[in-house]
Structures are given as C-alpha cells and as structure tokens.
C-alpha cells in the first residue's frame, strides 16, 4: 500500500508524484492543501510531526524528505531505473538536486511567495490565518511561514534572491553542457527534482530563461515536458499553479 500526501505538482510535492508515475507505481493520492495549512492539522501531524509536505507512506513506513524519497521509490519498486549505475553520475545526481534544494530553490520560492502566493494567502480571514501559523510545530517553519505570509522579506533579502536565481540560471545552463540530462546521458531523479522547481522559469523569469539566452535549459525543459509521466503529473493539481505549465508548453513549441 502506497499513500502519497501532496499539494500541487509543484516544488517538493511534484518530486514523488513524477517518480511514481515514471516507474508505473500505483499510489493513492491525498491532496493536502498547503495554503489552507492542512499539513498542520492534528491528523497530519500524527503522521508527519514536522508538518511538511509531501509525506509518503509505504506499508506503514513514513517518508518525509522529498528529495531522498525518490531514491527509496527507485530502490523499492520495479520499473525503469531513475538512478545511474555509475557512482560519479550518482554523485552528480545528488549534487545537482542539492544545489537546487539549497541555493536556487529557496531564492526562487522567496520571489514566488512575495509576488504570487503571499497575496493569495492573505485573502483569508486574518485571525484564522494567525491561528494557523501559531500552531506550526517547528520553529524554523513557523518563522518561515510568518515571513512568507506577511511578506516580511527585506529588500536586501529579495535582491539577494534575485541575484541567486540569475546566477543559478547561468550555472544550470553550463551544467547542461556535457550531457542531455543534468546528471549524465540518462534521465534521473535529478531531472525530476529540478524540473519541479524550474518548469515555469520561461514564464516566471522570461527575461533570463528563453531560447536566445538559455537554449540548453529550454531544450532540456522541452525534453522533460515531453515525457508522458510528467504530462500526467499536472493532472494532480487543483489550482491555477498547474496552468502555468500550459503557457510554458506554448513557448517551448514556439521556439527553435
């Protein structure tokens, strides 16, 4: 029995959805509304005390780290391998995943929250919103949510995030110089993990990610978007976040 608690097929939630679909692993989907703070409901916390999304439950065994989950799924289930055999290419797979998790992702999501998600959440009843924030169990998550929801980012933080995203785009473009996929000649978990953070770059960062400036990223995105499993992943979304994918597809079709 495999149960997956996920939000939109976006950022962390997208990773295990794509991994399962690529391997043809069946799972029961439990849509967990991040913006309604479903992940801090007592029932959810019983399963995952950190109150993070996604959570994967396999025959009673609970997994909560989204980037590491893929390795579990790949090891435990039959289907096409999602990790290269070669240890160096595996290191590349983990290196690139971590680069996006630690350096690029937090900066991109800061910008995303500031201009897009924050205003959406602030439409909720303020008292109710505060109550939901106050019960977040992990201190760093509580601080992070408060900062994000009330847009408490400083100008300096946002400028640094913008700098990092732009630097990251350049690093990523170079990273795709040697192989068609980020870890090597074959598609791997790194492509899955990174795609979940970057699939909307051609619209969100239109000026920096386009056919002229970053042809390798565009080409890579087109290859990943073209995978049936990735296509199916967007069906798990319920908000307009997933609709962004359609706009990107148009751009990818239009270019080159």
């Amino acid at each position: 029995m495999l149960d997956l608690y996920h939000w939109e097929p976006n950022a962390n939630s997208g990773k295990p959805i794509i991994a399962c679909l690529e391997k043809g692993v069946e799972f029961t989907s439990h849509y967990t509304d991040l913006l309604n703070f479903d992940q801090h409901e007592p029932e959810y916390l019983k399963m995952n005390p950190n109150g993070t999304i996604p959570t994967l439950v396999h025959d009673g065994y609970v997994l909560t780290e989204s980037s590491q989950m893929g390795e579990y799924i790949d090891a435990e289930f039959a289907g096409p391998p999602l990790r290269p055999e070669d240890p160096y290419l595996r290191w590349r797979m983990r290196y690139w995943t971590k680069y996006f998790d630690n350096f690029f992702g937090p900066s991109l999501s800061m910008i995303g929250w500031s201009i897009f998600v924050g205003p959406m959440v602030r439409q909720k009843d303020p008292k109710e919103l505060q109550r939901k924030i106050d019960r977040i169990p992990l201190k760093e998550r509580r601080v992070a949510w408060e900062t994000a929801v009330y847009n408490k980012f400083t100008e300096e933080q946002l400028a640094e995030s913008t700098r990092r995203v732009q630097e990251g785009i350049g690093v990523f473009e170079k990273g795709l110089a040697d192989y068609p996929y980020i870890a090597g000649p074959e598609y791997s978990l790194a492509d899955i993990n990174i795609f979940c953070m970057t699939y909307s770059l051609p619209t969100m960062q239109e000026e920096h990610v386009n056919w002229e400036k970053t042809p390798k990223i565009m080409d890579w995105l087109r290859r990943i978007y073209g995978r049936p499993a990735v296509d199916k992943t967007f069906d798990y979304g319920q908000t307009q976040l997933a609709e962004r994918a359609q706009e990107v597809r148009e751009k990818l079709k239009a270019g080159n």
Binding site: Q68, E76, P87, Y88, K98, P106, M110, E140, T147
Partner: protein
C-alpha cells in the same frame, strides 16, 4: 588515483578523511589552510569555484560537498560496507546526512568561531585579514567571512545554533540509547558524519554534552575515537584540536 584537498581533520574535511581511511583507500593529501583563505586562491578556485573544502579528485573527476562525497565513497568503494543499501536503510542514511548538516555543520562552526577562533584571530593583523576577506570572489562565502571577522555573530544566531545543536544532541542521545551505532548495530557513514561535528562538543558545549547528561554520546565518541582509522586521521592534524572556520550558511528561510 585519488587526491583530497582538505583542511584539519575537523567537521566537513573530517567526514571525508575518516571515510577514506575507514575504507583503506590510499589518497594524496593536499592541505588547504582555511585560516589563510587559501581556498579562495586562483589555483584552488579552478578546482572548486565554490571555494570550499573538501574536494576529492578521483581519476580526474572533481567531487565536492562533504556529505555527498561520503555517499560517493560508499558507492565507489564497496568494501568494507559502511551503509545499508536496501531502500529503507539507504533512505535513512541520506536523511541523517541531511539532518547532521542542517543541524550541526553550520551551528558548530558558528559557536566554534565565536568562542575559540574570534579571540585568536583578534591577535592577527586586522587590516590584512579584512583585505583578504574583501577579495573573496564568492558572494555568499564573502558574506559569511565578513560576519565572522567583523566581531563575530549576533546573539540571535548564536542562540539559534545552540538550539539546533540541542535538538540534534537529544535525538542522537535517544538513538544511541537503543543501539550501539546511529543506524543500528553497524558503524556507518552516518556515525562518521555525526562524529565529525559532535567530537568537539564536550569541549565547546560542556553543559550540553557531558558524562552526566549524554552518557550514550560520550561512550559512542570514545568507541569511535579508538578506531584505527580515526587515530590515523587525527594524526594528520597540523594545528591544535580547536580549529573552526565559518561553515555553510544558516537557512535563509529562518
């Protein structure tokens, strides 16, 4: 052919040195003096543009990031086995690696710098030091060093470091109450990762890690210390036991 660029057998450098020694893999050692900021020299940046040690060069392939290097060594040099390789065991190995890094790497270096290095560095030529720091070409590393040399860290950052260390120490002590090693009954790269940071805590935070409050950790440190691979690694020290450098940055999301 293996070459390792490393600093003292502390923290991140220790993770990789301990791992190679435990596997019995020969490597050529290149000592990079972090306190002289040699990691930002042109030659070193050509190897790792991020300006961080350790770096492993294996048959011309360049590998960075200490946690990821230990995972690489485990997969590239299977004997002796230092991690479980079934789905669940490997997932937990990876999660521990992330946990140690998140809760200990940055926090231990922050406190170590504050308590031990800052007073020592105060004796150095400050102008020379500031000039070197100003020349660091990697923006986020420059910021980390600027914070470190300009009078150390704020109380909030120190408190956050103590809190994270406290959480990790509690979890590790609880884990060791039920088994000899962090992943059960075998010594693994998770023990190596955690040891590389925890070994300094009885001196750095004696009120938190001591025989009365954390007997499990104290006995575990002792057991690891007695391993020949650990003794060989510690023998590669060039300075005293207490050396720290600004570590990876604290999460920007709070």
């Amino acid at each position: 052919m293996l070459e390792l660029y490393h600093w003292e057998p502390n923290a991140e450098s220790a993770k990789v040195m301990l791992c190679l020694k435990e596997k019995g893999v020969e490597f050529k050692s290149h000592y990079v003096n972090i306190l002289e900021l040699e990691q930002y020299s042109k030659d070193f940046l050509a190897i790792n543009p991020a300006g961080q040690v350790p770096v492993l060069v294996h048959d011309g392939k360049i590998l960075t990031d200490s946690t990821l290097i230990t995972e690489y060594i485990e997969e590239a040099f299977p004997e002796p086995v230092l991690a479980p390789h079934d789905g669940k065991g490997w997932y937990e190995t990876l999660c521990w690696g992330k946990y140690v890094e998140y809760n200990l790497d940055t926090s231990v270096s922050t406190l170590g710098w504050h308590q031990v290095m800052a007073p020592k560095m105060a004796g150095q030529d400050q102008d020379k030091l500031r000039k070197k720091v100003a020349a660091i070409p990697v923006p986020e590393r420059k910021a980390a060093w600027e914070a470190a040399v300009s009078g150390g860290y704020g109380e909030e950052q120190l408190e956050n470091s103590r809190r994270k260390i406290g959480l990790a120490v509690k979890r590790i002590e609880e884990t060791l109450a039920g088994s000899a090693w962090l992943m059960g009954n075998a010594y693994t790269i998770v023990d190596i990762d955690a040891f590389s940071l925890l070994c300094t805590l009885p001196r750095l935070l004696p009120d938190t890690v001591n025989a009365g409050d954390t007997p499990g950790i104290m006995a575990w440190l002792q057991r690891i210390n007695e391993r020949p691979a650990v003794q060989e690694t510690l023998a590669m020290r060039k300075t005293g036991e207490n050396a720290y450098a600004p570590g990876p940055e604290h999460s920007r999301w709070g």
